[in-house]
């Protein structure tokens, strides 16, 4: 374990599991991110060392896909959908409300890393637009007030 508390030993079972699979970079990174909440440099180095992939190749993949994060994220992840149906139903106002209420910007976290706000394009529940996803829970027909209230109710 290093001084930031990143235990690269946790990666071992994952690397072992995908050892013999061709092209398993994406699932390895996904699983690694599940452990740390993001992809810390230490973990990237460890994956490169153990899997034989070059570090540039790993970062190439990690920076290409929206799902991967190289910076720590908040304890709670708020996704506001700005897909077409949500957009026309007022999603931009939801984003604005969350940004103002929790002192953060879309794509970033608040100073205490309690919340991370991200804009996504379509969660596929357009019939209930606008939609927000708080951690894993989906909320339909949201308003600025109801969304802010839901977020405040998180522990």
């Amino acid at each position: 374990m290093d001084d930031r508390g990143i235990d690269v030993g946790l990666l071992e079972p994952i690397l072992l599991e995908y050892q013999s699979q061709k092209g398993a970079v994406i699932p390895i990174l996904q699983r690694a991110q599940d452990i740390y909440g993001y992809l810390p440099e230490e973990a990237m180095n460890e994956i490169a060392k153990k899997s034989g992939l070059s570090i540039s190749q790993l970062y190439g993949v990690a920076t290409f896909y929206a799902q991967f994060h190289l910076e720590p994220r908040g304890r709670h992840i708020i996704h506001v959908c700005d897909g077409t149906a949500c957009h026309v139903s007022g999603a931009p106002k939801l984003v604005q409300a969350v940004e103002e209420e929790f002192n953060l910007e879309a794509g970033g976290s608040d100073p205490d890393y309690q919340y991370t706000l991200e804009i996504v394009y379509c969660l596929g529940s357009c019939g209930l637009a606008p939609i927000a996803l708080i951690d894993e829970q989906v909320y339909g027909n949201t308003t600025s007030d109801s969304l802010v209230k839901q977020i405040k109710e998180l522990d």
């Binding site: 991967f68 949500c86 026309v88 019939g127 637009a129």
Partner: protein
């Protein structure tokens, strides 16, 4: 459950499953809950919890079944009650607090609570009760023909038995035991099925190319990377009827000679991935996937690959690169994946719906399918109907139906007595159609000719409140952000085009900008490597074509008719109408509204960000939208 080693055992299991369902329908009370992502978002879990406590309270034994999306997103959450020997009665907009009332009246007093009843669906015995409309008679359903969505919302997607009972895997059975691989391809070719991912290439022909290509092993890939904002057709099939996809893929594997398949599903669909995992596990346990399927000698293995959030991975060569663990960047075609795809081997990539429909074609036959639809577009089209429309949801209609029928009959028209403005198909890579193009028949070629596209099935209706320029800017923001950056026309072109649109929506556009849009769009369409870059200008070009006046008003008069484009107008409060109720003051996030209670309010223009919240919240029509020149827009109270 033991592995099935021959066709008789499969048939026995199917008969047993049918008998069990009949037994349940005739003798038990079943309560069916819509548990697709849409139902859950509308509160289906809360309804389920309430339901369980109500059943306990009244000491009622009933079987609870969760199903996928039946298509009525506008009526979620849904709760169906099926009593012994009776049809399924559907209750809509079921909030937890009315569950008790429904259960008490329906199951305790034995009466139907018509206030919340939507319709009835006959169960296996075909019986209906009087006084409640059958689904087939309801406007949302009576023009629909459900092939790809046949089982969605009807069967329990987590039960392979229910799928089997609904003729499931009988298409596979027919393919493996009564037909050779070439016969299967011939059947699909004769059906004239065109790929449902958007391009509309003939599926049978695609399979044939792949079969004839040299190289082994070959691969079958399902493209379930449904990334279009406003589209959820594939999700509904994956969540509501995952075995239909599996069956289609195994049939394709057999026809092509591929021993291995991948389902590439976007990670934003966790429920779909869970349901697929369950379905795949069940199919392996029964020997419908794996080695020597049903003793036929054919083997097929299937894996799920989760996407990692990149729209461009819906493009087949990018998708293949992503499965290989690389950045999802497309490459030039030819060679097409049918010749050189995954790991350089012949690969067949189809959309979710194409596979689901192919399995239905095998259950029935090519003639059954090609009797539906138009001359060049056979069968049905699945659309996710969203935006400013009464009946949002998922529909499947025969090709050839008009846009007008979809929007006004199936979709129920525009809510709040507003004016229809445009319908956008094909998402951020599609195009829009105005009012006078609404009689265009919906099929691959007519839509393209009219200036829109079939796309994979997103259909978004917008009303007078949407600014077409801003709408185009929105799509461009999405598409240009999703450019993978590999080719210059898409990477730079998209940015330049977006800059022009931003300029116009900010009130800084010039008449020359309209020519600039056309010039950049042409470069992009002709020069981009893949469909993403080629089609990114689509929404802009089609809205410029049909709503040129609106663009002109923006650049010539600095005027946004819909009152959407900030910076083109100001908000003011009409003193005569304002009662000082304080609603707008409370809503204003920038504290731009000043005023005491019961005293006329005023907007401080230096603080106002033109968000329109005050305009929306005022029900007295006291907030005035004033453009920088004249012609104020007043909302009528």
């Amino acid at each position: 459950m033991p592995v099935l080693t021959n066709i008789e055992e499969l048939r026995e299991l199917r008969d047993k499953a049918r008998a069990e369902i009949t037994e349940r329908e005739e003798n038990k009370t079943t309560i069916i809950l819509g548990m697709g992502t849409c139902g859950i978002a509308a509160g289906a879990y809360e309804v389920e919890a309430e339901l369980q406590s109500e059943l306990e309270k009244h000491n009622i034994t009933a079987e609870l079944i969760s199903v996928g999306c039946i298509g009525m997103c506008h009526n979620e959450p849904l709760l169906d009650i099926q009593q012994p020997g009776l049809p399924r009665i559907t209750y809509t907009n079921v909030k937890p607090k009315i569950v008790g009332k429904i259960i008490e009246k329906h199951l305790v007093q034995g009466e139907y609570n018509k206030r919340w009843i939507y319709g009835q669906l006959s169960s296996g015995n075909g019986k209906f009760v009087e006084g409640i409309p059958a689904y087939e008679e309801l406007p949302f359903y009576n023009k629909q023909v459900r092939i790809a969505l046949k089982n969605c919302g009807i069967i329990d997607p987590e039960s392979i038995e229910e799928y089997l009972a609904s003729d499931g895997y009988s298409g596979l059975e027919k393919a493996l035991f009564q037909m050779g691989p070439e016969d299967v391809i011939q059947e699909i070719k004769e059906s004239e099925l065109r790929g449902r991912g958007g391009a509309g290439f003939l599926t049978g022909l695609k399979w044939e190319f792949c079969r004839k290509a040299s190289g082994s092993p070959k691969y079958v890939i399902c493209n379930a990377d449904e990334g279009d904002p406003g589209a959820f057709m594939d999700r509904s099939v994956l969540e509501g009827d995952p075995h239909a996809l599996l069956e289609g893929m195994i049939i394709a594997g057999y026809a092509i000679g591929a021993p291995e398949g991948y389902i590439y599903c976007r990670a934003e669909y966790p429920l779909a991935i869970d349901r697929l995992k369950i379905a795949i596990k069940q199919a392996y346990e029964l020997g419908i996937l794996g080695e020597n399927i049903l003793g036929s000698g054919f083997s097929f293995n299937l894996k799920i690959k989760e996407g990692a959030g990149a729209f461009v991975c819906g493009e087949e060569t990018a998708l293949i690169a992503s499965i290989e663990g690389k950045r999802g960047e497309p490459r030039p075609r030819p060679p097409y994946p049918a010749v050189s795809g995954l790991w350089g081997k012949p690969t067949n990539v189809n959309n979710v719906k194409s596979f689901a429909i192919a399995s239905q074609i095998m259950v029935n036959d090519a003639n059954w399918f090609n009797k539906i639809g138009t001359e060049k577009s056979k069968g049905t089209a699945v659309f996710a109907l969203t935006g400013k429309i009464e009946h949002t949801g998922l529909i499947e209609v025969p090709m050839g139906i008009t846009m007008r029928e979809i929007i006004y009959d199936v979709g129920g028209g525009i809510p709040d007595k507003k004016q229809f403005k445009a319908v956008q198909t094909g998402g951020p890579l599609g195009g829009c159609l105005p009012e006078d193009a609404l009689d265009t028949p919906v099929d691959f070629d007519s839509l393209t000719e009219a200036g829109a596209t079939m796309g994979s099935g997103g259909m978004i209706v917008v009303d007078q409140d949407t600014c077409m320029v801003e709408f185009a800017r929105y799509f461009l923001t999405f598409a240009s952000a999703e450019s993978c950056g590999k080719c210059v026309p898409c990477r730079i072109g998209g940015q330049r085009l977006l800059e022009v649109l931003i300029r116009i929506t900010n009130g800084e556009g010039t008449p020359e900008d309209l020519d600039e849009i056309e010039r950049i769009s042409e470069f992009m369409s002709e020069g981009s490597l893949c469909a993403l870059g080629q089609l990114t200008p689509g929404p802009v070009i089609s809205s410029l074509r049909f709503f040129r006046e609106e663009y002109k008003a923006h650049v010539n008069e600095n005027y946004c008719q819909a009152g959407v484009c900030e910076g083109m107008f100001t908000y003011e409060i009409v003193p005569d109408r304002c009662t000082g109720c304080g609603l707008c003051l409370k809503e204003c996030t920038t504290e731009a509204i000043i005023g005491e209670k019961k005293v006329v309010h005023v907007i401080d223009q230096s603080k106002c960000i033109q968000c329109g919240a005050c305009y929306d919240v005022c029900n007295l029509g006291a907030v005035l939208v004033k453009r920088k020149h004249e012609l104020p827009l007043v909302k009528t109270a």
